[in-house]
Amino acid sequence: MKIEELKDLGFEMVSDGDGEIDHGYACDLLSEVMGKAKPDTVWLTVQSHINIIAVAAITGIRAIILCNDHKFDEETIQRAKKEKIALFKTALNTFEACGKIYQKGIR
């Protein structure tokens, strides 16, 4: 799945990124994500702090969707641009957002 296709699902793009998405993962505990997320993943979380970018960069996560209407810190957005990791936000909760992506065949 292309990163832009997340827009078609109703997620609001905060900044663009590189690559394609093959997998999805949802969790708010960083070292769980670190241990379990596959490369080329879209990650759904309520964490907006800059540390999520390091986690994404190291695991190969391509896009982050911030759920529950949380806002990204400005420095998070800047770092994401530098690392070319796409950022999205949504008012949906994590469960609802996962459902939408799951329906598109992403596992």
């Binding site: 505990l29 960083l30 241990g35 390091a54 190969g60």
Partner: protein, 313 residues
């Protein structure tokens, strides 16, 4: 400073229930009595060990050869002679059921650095070094944790770390200072190391393993240590070693800290998603060998070894 022997003597009561079989290294790298000294030298060098039991065709112990013996052979131009010419022949051995206390006594009495472990037919089944004893004792005191996937998987396999002769290994280095005061910087060192390894053409899967483990060690320094720290990495074509250390408050009980889900992370960092208590478990899973040394008030020292696996190329 106390000598190793003093220390060992002091702590030996902790070991009353352990026997040699519990902590010997096995299988053992050995050399045959009719091999040349030069080959023994290469074995010591490539396996990074300091002594080799010498065996006959049937695998029975005939002697032992150490780095000192090799140095003598070098001085006397004997590298092409047979191992049997310079080996020590009357070897003091251990058996696997012998109590560690008795092993301690032998180390003390004979002053050797290593003892082969043999079965009733004199076949070599393991080896115990002073270093093994130290490790076992520190682990027993929960100031040291060792995880070694290599022991099961790699040692004893002939191609394991077989470095071609005469190829000089260039060790490259990476260094990063960890800023513990700025939590937003946590993971920067691991990201830098990742880029460095990619630039050296290590395969992505391998790099990810190294980067995840380094990230976890780095964030632990930032979140828990309350002190500055340093990441150091050495690279060889097939191998990366990463050391992360700090001078902070240290870990009181390493066995407990290793448990998945155990965390002393303060609330304010938990809000950011730290504190699942999964960091050390992730490091253990990613590294082929990991050693953690720490005690309360003395900082934490982590050393991790990564070998390139076949499916990572």
């Amino acid at each position: 400073m106390e000598s190793v022997d003093d220390l060992i003597r002091k702590i030996q009561p902790y070991f009353s229930e352990l026997s040699v079989g519990d902590l010997m290294s096995s299988p053992v790298v050995t050399v045959r009595e009719d091999q040349r000294i030069n080959e023994a030298k290469e074995l010591l060098r490539t396996r990074r060990i300091s002594g080799l039991p010498v065996i006959d065709d049937g695998g029975r112990l005939k002697g032992i050869i150490s780095i000192e013996d090799i140095i003598h052979a070098l001085e006397n131009n004997m590298l092409n002679s047979n191992v049997s010419e310079i080996m020590t022949k009357n070897v003091v051995c251990l058996t696997k059921d012998e109590k560690i206390m008795d092993a301690f006594k032998k180390f003390e009495m004979y002053g050797y650095g290593r003892f082969p472990v043999v079965d009733e037919n004199k076949n070599v089944i393991g080896i115990v070094t002073k270093y093994d004893l130290m490790i076992a004792l520190l682990a027993k005191l929960s100031v040291l944790y060792v995880h070694d996937a290599r022991r099961e998987q790699f040692v004893g396999v002939e191609i394991y770390r077989s470095i071609p002769k005469n190829v000089k290994i260039v060790r490259e280095e990476f260094e990063f200072q960890i800023d513990y005061k700025d939590i937003s910087m946590a993971g920067t060192g691991a990201s830098e190391l990742k880029k460095f390894l990619i630039s050296k053409n290590f395969p992505p899967k391998f790099v990810k393993r190294v980067a995840i483990a380094t990230y976890e060690a780095e964030t632990n320094v930032v979140i828990h240590s309350n002190s500055t720290g340093r990441i150091k990495a050495y690279i060889e074509p097939e191998f990366v070693e990463v050391r992360v250390n700090d001078n902070g408050k240290g870990i009181e009980n390493i066995d407990l800290a290793m448990k998945e889900g155990f965390s002393t992370a303060p609330d304010y960092v938990r809000e950011y998603g730290f504190g699942a208590g999964m960091g050390l478990a992730n490091m253990k899973r990613c590294a082929d060998r990991m050693v953690i040394l720490s005690s309360k008030g003395n900082g934490v020292f982590v050393e991790m070894h990564f070998w390139r696996h076949e499916d990572e190329n």
